[in-house]
């Protein structure tokens, strides 16, 4: 960091302004970036944005349909509401090819090992949507047989309430999930470590400029 060849620069964009008139220094430490860090940051943003854009617009779903919410799922899939407009075109009926696990309906305790297996079989990156109030919280099935929400077994990204939810709610949940996918950050360290980038000497060129 103290190498004189790499002068320390302060990022200008996103720093909150210090409170005026107090005369005290802000508690927030200034973010110090080298040009190398900036370059990495640039690549992080470029990579994350591109990956997020590509992923959010081609969500392959696995419909884990167990109950009456499946009717609304079919409606959301078909012509009038047409979830394909948002890139979620293909239902894949094997979890190994799917990005998004849609838990559509009540999960009872006897089914829970099956759901866990299906989730474990999906490849990363993977997301989960709890479709309907039963998958979100158990709904009104507060009894001996029902899992009180799929998030007690597997992590859930988006909850779509409703009994059953309207297709518009499903589309809204999908848009929220798309925003979440778009905002995910991928570390450029993995890029830096990859052989391809290292052979080209991309980072060394940029940082020594």
């Amino acid at each position: 960091m103290s190498d004189p060849r790499f002068p320390i620069v302060t990022s200008q964009g996103n720093q909150p302004e210090a409170p005026k008139g107090t005369g005290e220094q802000s508690n927030l430490a200034p973010v110090l970036l080298t040009r190398r860090d900036e370059a990495i940051g640039f690549f992080e943003r470029a990579l994350s944005g591109t990956l997020g854009w590509a992923r959010k617009n081609s969500i392959f779903q696995y419909p884990f349909v167990t109950a009456c919410c499946g009717m609304e799922y079919m409606s959301a899939m078909c012509g009038r509401y047409d979830i394909a407009r948002f890139g979620a075109e293909f239902p894949r009926f094997t979890p190994r090819q799917a990005d998004l696990l849609m838990i559509v309906g009540t999960i009872n305790i006897k089914q829970s090992p099956v759901l866990k297996t299906v989730y474990d079989q999906m490849c990363e990156p993977k997301w989960v949507m709890a479709f309907g109030v039963c998958a979100s919280s158990g709904g009104f099935y507060d009894n001996y047989a029902t899992v009180q929400g799929a998030d007690r077994i597997i992590p859930v990204d988006v909850y779509v309430p409703g009994c059953p939810p309207r297709p518009e709610q499903v589309l809204d949940g999908l848009r929220i999930l798309q925003e979440k996918i778009q905002s995910q950050r991928h570390s450029a360290a993995t890029v830096e470590m990859s052989d391809d980038v290292r052979k080209r000497g991309l980072f060394s060129k940029l940082s020594s400029r």
Partner: protein, 220 residues
């Protein structure tokens, strides 16, 4: 018409019918357990009855009611508010098993009822008379814990074999759950810990029933 059915059973099996009722065409007889199979066989095979269809077997838990053996349609005289076996007078039958019989040819229906006590919740199996009784009795065993002696394959039909207890009994806790997968341990702000898994100071991850040995034949 159906009153004749009750009279027929009474005449044919004197002493076996403890009570009977006929209300708006809905006829039922309460019979003793010892003569249940005889009566059912008679009702199926006799020319005057021809009850070829066993429509349903219903098991009732009368724990919260003080039942009466008087019959005559009186279901419950006084409700017991708390789930306590001590409130139930000793010797009163807790479970009612009801056979819903129908004759497709003669188009008449009769309910045959047996009452058993909780310390002796056993009923002879009717699988030898109707094959339909197989799954119906397994369901009654699964949910209510009434044992059908002589059943060829009496095991759970809906719930998983790791389940302990019988959930539709009135003294089974409403929110008691027996998960198969270890549940994620997280604070649940909306639903609360509750008396189920995760409640009573027990972490959710420790309350699951381990599935160590899955035998596929237990699910047929």
């Amino acid at each position: 018409m159906s009153k004749a059915l009750i009279e027929l059973v009474r005449e044919r099996f004197p002493g076996a019918v403890t009570s009977s009722s006929s209300d708006r065409g809905d006829d039922s007889v309460v019979v003793k357990r010892e003569s249940l199979l005889e009566i059912l066989t008679f009702l199926k095979n006799d020319e005057a009855t021809q009850m070829k269809l066993l429509a349903d077997i219903v098991a009732l838990d009368m724990l919260t009611y003080q039942s009466e053996m008087t019959g005559g349609g009186s279901l419950a005289s006084q409700e017991v508010t708390s789930y306590s076996l001590s409130k139930k007078p000793q010797g009163e039958p807790r479970y009612r098993i009801l056979y819903n019989l129908y004759s497709v040819t003669l188009k008449h229906r009769l309910h045959v009822r047996v009452e058993v006590r909780s310390d002796d919740a056993k009923v002879p199996s009717a699988v030898g008379i109707w094959k339909a009784a197989d799954w119906l009795e397994r369901l009654a065993w699964d949910m209510m814990g009434v044992e059908f002696t002589g059943h060829p394959n009496l095991k759970r039909i809906l719930l998983y074999p790791e389940f302990v207890g019988h959930p539709l009994r009135k003294d089974y806790p409403v929110q008691k759950r027996q998960p198969l997968v270890a549940e994620l341990d997280f604070p649940d702000l909306v639903r609360g810990p509750g008396p189920g898994p995760g409640g009573a100071g027990v972490p959710m991850s420790q309350t699951h029933v381990g599935r160590t040995n899955v035998d596929p034949t237990t699910y047929d």
